[in-house]
């Protein structure tokens, strides 16, 4: 990263900003702190123009609304991965010449959507109206009828618990002329009509109240309930017709989607350009920007700035200054950046771990997923996705990473002789009554699990050694070679010596001479660690610290043992695969058996693949994050976010 500061003429600003955006290699930093500085404050002001950016934001949200509506009502299928369409700058500009027409389309669809919202709310209203009237459908007097000269007419509800016949009985007893109608009932209430003499009103009302009667009125409605329902239904069907027509009309505009996407992206660019002005300082005739540029992009940036006639300065950051972080990796390591990113970006002065674990990640994944057929499926599937879609960013990296992991899986599958577990053996035995065994090129882990276990530990030891080596490298780079010697060198001595000693003492490997060398290496290492482990402490702490450091040997032990998961998960894949095969073969030979075998195989192996691919991924991550990163990695950097065309649908390419 290099620190960039530019002073340029106000007149050339638009052009320069456009150039910087197309280059996409400069992160322009906020200058708030300069404005707080008295010295700067006299000279410059912030160029910001919030209302411009807000205006673009509003337009963006309406275009987005239209695009979403087209997705919702349209017939076009959503692709599995959304990718950006590569388009030349010339074409992009050309499409946007029709900006006004596109804008008209946006307005048209927006008005359709607006009408759609109205129609939807009218539909809701009509449906609610029908629901509220349905219980009264049997009431054949007009709803506005409140009575005659001598009678009161009303409708109302009783709670579900009330006894309607009892109420009728009481009314009959107490009054001379009351007619109670039981129109309807549901779970919550009874729907009641009442006609009574006006002169007995008080008496009747009292009785009704006793039974929990609540009057119901429809102040806005005239005519009977049934007729009103009829009216609502007519309205509803008209509304639904209109809704269908509106959907049709929106769908008819689906062809405009592409152009709308152009508009959307041009608005994104315009908004970002307006936004960035909040990071510009202006004097009147000149403006000032400050930012970061990756060292590799410095040359093309200098060319651009030279062309535009700016005064600029490129400096290396001061020691210890925090810079944004950009990961740069080769072709093979690049996809594994996704794993680093999922953990945390390295700190600004730190080391990018990606190139150091890419290979081991694939190897671990392959060991745990170890099945040739699964590997082939994974490799092919990811290969096809990569071929078919122009993926970018994180999605691309993930898919590509699984592609490499698939290849590693094939490798280990061949080594250990697994193809859908033992499907070939099972099929040959069940259907052809022959004994066929695919020989493993190296060995079969089911028969020699100890070999694979030791191999896993060995791999783990190498992996941990690499992590420790990186720590030593960082120490030396920081000018602390003594720390590197004490914290890493002595441990190398102790661990290597320990392994040789144990191998000699327990396995009889290497003979007594070598074992003795190992023993002395262990002792020297241990003594060294005890003597130096507490060097940063004072007094008695020096001794305790030394023994404390030596106790760290348990940490290394558990780190190495942790790699036993390579064996365990590898076995899980192959044993579950053979469980599936055995289940498939249980119904014996013949056509029927074959069909069952195929069905059980497809379901079982898909399941096994899914669960074990997930497991292999998670546990490879764990081995990298905990056992490897833990040795040296310092995360916590801020991502480099260049001022660029962060478009959503279109990738604009320079004309060449």
């Amino acid at each position: 990263m290099k620190k960039l500061s530019v002073i340029a003429l106000e007149t050339g600003r638009e052009e320069l900003m456009e150039g910087l955006m197309a280059l996409g290699a400069v992160e322009i930093t906020s200058q708030e702190d300069k404005l707080a500085d008295d010295h700067w404050k006299e000279l410059v002001a912030l160029d910001g123009n919030q209302s411009d950016a807000a205006g673009y934001e509003a337009e963006l949200s309406s275009v987005n609304q239209v695009l979403e509506a087209l997705d919702r009502y349209g017939t076009e299928k959503k692709p599995l991965f959304s990718t950006r369409l590569p388009v030349k700058k010339e074409k992009f500009k050309q499409v946007l010449k029709e900006r006004e027409e596109i804008q008209q389309k946006v307005d048209l669809i927006l008005s359709l959507l607006h009408r759609m919202a109205e129609v939807n709310s009218a539909i809701n209203k009509a449906e609610a109206g029908i629901l509220s009237l349905l219980p009264w459908e049997g009431w054949d007097l007009p709803l506005e009828n409140k009575g005659t000269i001598y009678t009161d007419v009303m409708i109302g509800v009783l709670p579900a618990g009330a006894q309607v016949d009892k109420l009728e009985q009481v009314l009959d007893e107490k009054t001379r002329g009351s007619i109670l109608g039981h129109l309807n009932s549901d779970n919550e209430q009874h729907y009641i009509s009442f006609i009574g003499l006006k002169e007995e009103r008080e008496l009747a009302e009292e009785t009704l109240k006793l039974f929990g009667f609540t009057k119901v009125q429809f102040p806005d409605l005239t005519d009977t309930a049934a007729k009103n329902i009829e009216k609502y239904r007519e309205k509803l069907s008209a509304l639904q017709d209109e809704k269908a027509k509106l959907e049709e009309a929106i769908r008819a505009e689906e062809g405009e989607k592409d152009k709308l996407r152009y508009l959307y992206d041009s608005l994104v660019i315009a908004r970002d350009r307006a936004d960035i002005r909040n990071r510009l300082l202006v004097t009147g005739k000149t403006f000032y920007i400050e930012g970061w540029v990756p060292a590799i992009a410095a040359e093309s940036l200098e060319k651009l700035l030279g062309e535009k006639g700016c005064y600029y300065q490129l400096e290396d950051p001061e020691k210890g200054e925090k810079t944004p972080v950009l990961l740069l990796n080769g072709k093979f390591s690049l996809p594994f950046e996704s794993i680093t990113r999922l953990y945390a970006l390295p700190s600004s002065g730190g080391l990018d771990a990606t190139p150091f674990f890419s290979l081991s990640f694939a190897v671990f994944f392959g060991l745990m997923f170890s099945d040739t057929a699964y590997g082939i499926i994974l490799t092919l599937a990811t290969y096809l996705v990569l071929k078919k879609f122009r993926l970018e960013g994180m999605t691309y990296r993930m898919i590509k990473m699984f592609f490499y992991c698939g290849i590693a899986t094939i490798f280990w599958g061949v080594m250990f002789g697994g193809f859908f577990g033992d499907i070939i053996t099972v099929v040959a035995k069940t259907f052809f009554h022959k004994d066929v065994v695919i020989p493993a090129i190296w060995f079969n882990p089911m028969e020699e699990p100890m070999t694979l276990l030791l191999f896993s530990f060995a791999l783990g030891l190498v992996h941990i050694y690499i992590g420790m080596g990186l720590k030593a490298y960082l120490d030396i780079k920081d000018g602390r070679p003594f720390d590197a010697f004490c914290d890493i060198g002595l441990w190398y001595l102790l661990l290597t010596g320990g392994v040789i000693w144990l191998a000699g003492a327990m396995g009889g490997i290497g003979g007594p001479g070598l074992s003795a060398i190992g023993k002395w290496m262990t002792i020297v290492g241990a003594v060294g660690i005890i003597l130096t482990g507490g060097r940063q402490k004072k007094g008695i702490g020096k001794i305790i610290g030394g023994f404390g450091s030596l106790y760290g040997v348990t940490g290394y032990l558990s780190d190495v043992l942790s790699y036993s998961r390579l064996l365990a998960l590898g076995l899980a894949t192959s044993v579950i695969a053979s469980v599936v095969n055995t289940m498939g073969s249980l119904s014996g030979g013949g056509i029927k058996g074959m069909i069952i075998m195929v069905i059980v195989g497809i379901i079982g192996h898909s399941y096994n693949m899914a669960i074990n691919a997930l497991g292999s991924f998670v546990h490879s991550c764990r081995l990298e994050y905990v056992e490897f990163f833990g040795k040296f990695y310092i995360g916590g950097g801020e991502a480099f976010e260049p001022f660029a065309q962060n478009t959503k649908y279109i990738e604009i390419r320079e004309d060449h």
């Binding site: 699990p449 276990l453 579950i576």
Partner: protein, 165 residues
């Protein structure tokens, strides 16, 4: 009568089958763990249905204990001849008892680690409800628990593998 029952129970083949059954009990832990994680997942998906896929991945993590149990049960069954056509072998009592003992690590560790991992997965699901981009961290926290199920699986496997029949 009593000797008949005693012969049935204190018999190598029976002990070995009992071992396979105990190994398969690891599924209890997975079932509980997945259940706990699933409840959390439903809560999160109710807020944001787009998180279904992510939540499902995390929910699946405590499922492995059941698989490890199945794996050991399967290997035992194959070893004593229930699977693979040869028919149940006649085992001596020590042989059966060894297989029984070998099944204990995965059976017991599977149950408790599955439950603990389920709670961890549920918390990870809560984590993605606020910060979906941090799913990898939730996965690693959850996988930390599984280490001990893996170790138990390994020990059970090596023991079963080491018993001579």
């Amino acid at each position: 009568m009593n000797t008949e029952v005693a012969n049935l129970v204190f018999n190598g083949s029976y002990l070995a089958i009992l071992g396979a059954a105990i190994a398969a009990l690891a599924g209890i832990g997975s079932a509980i763990g997945i259940g706990v994680a699933g409840q959390a997942a439903s809560g999160v998906v109710a807020e944001d249905p787009k998180k279904f896929g992510q939540a499902l991945i995390l929910q699946a993590l405590p499922g492995t204990q059941g698989i490890y149990g199945l794996l050991i049960a399967f290997i035992i069954m194959q070893k004593i001849g229930i699977l693979g056509g040869a028919g149940l072998l006649d085992l001596t009592i020590p042989q059966g008892a060894y297989i029984f003992a070998a099944s204990l690590p995965i059976g017991l560790v599977g149950i408790w680690s599955g439950m603990a991992q389920g709670r961890c997965a549920a918390s990870a699901i809560m984590l993605i409800s606020k910060r979906p981009e941090e799913i990898a961290k939730g996965m690693v926290y959850t996988a930390m628990v599984e280490t001990y199920a893996v170790l138990a699986l390994l020990i059970s496997f090596l023991m079963v593998n080491g018993v001579q029949i």
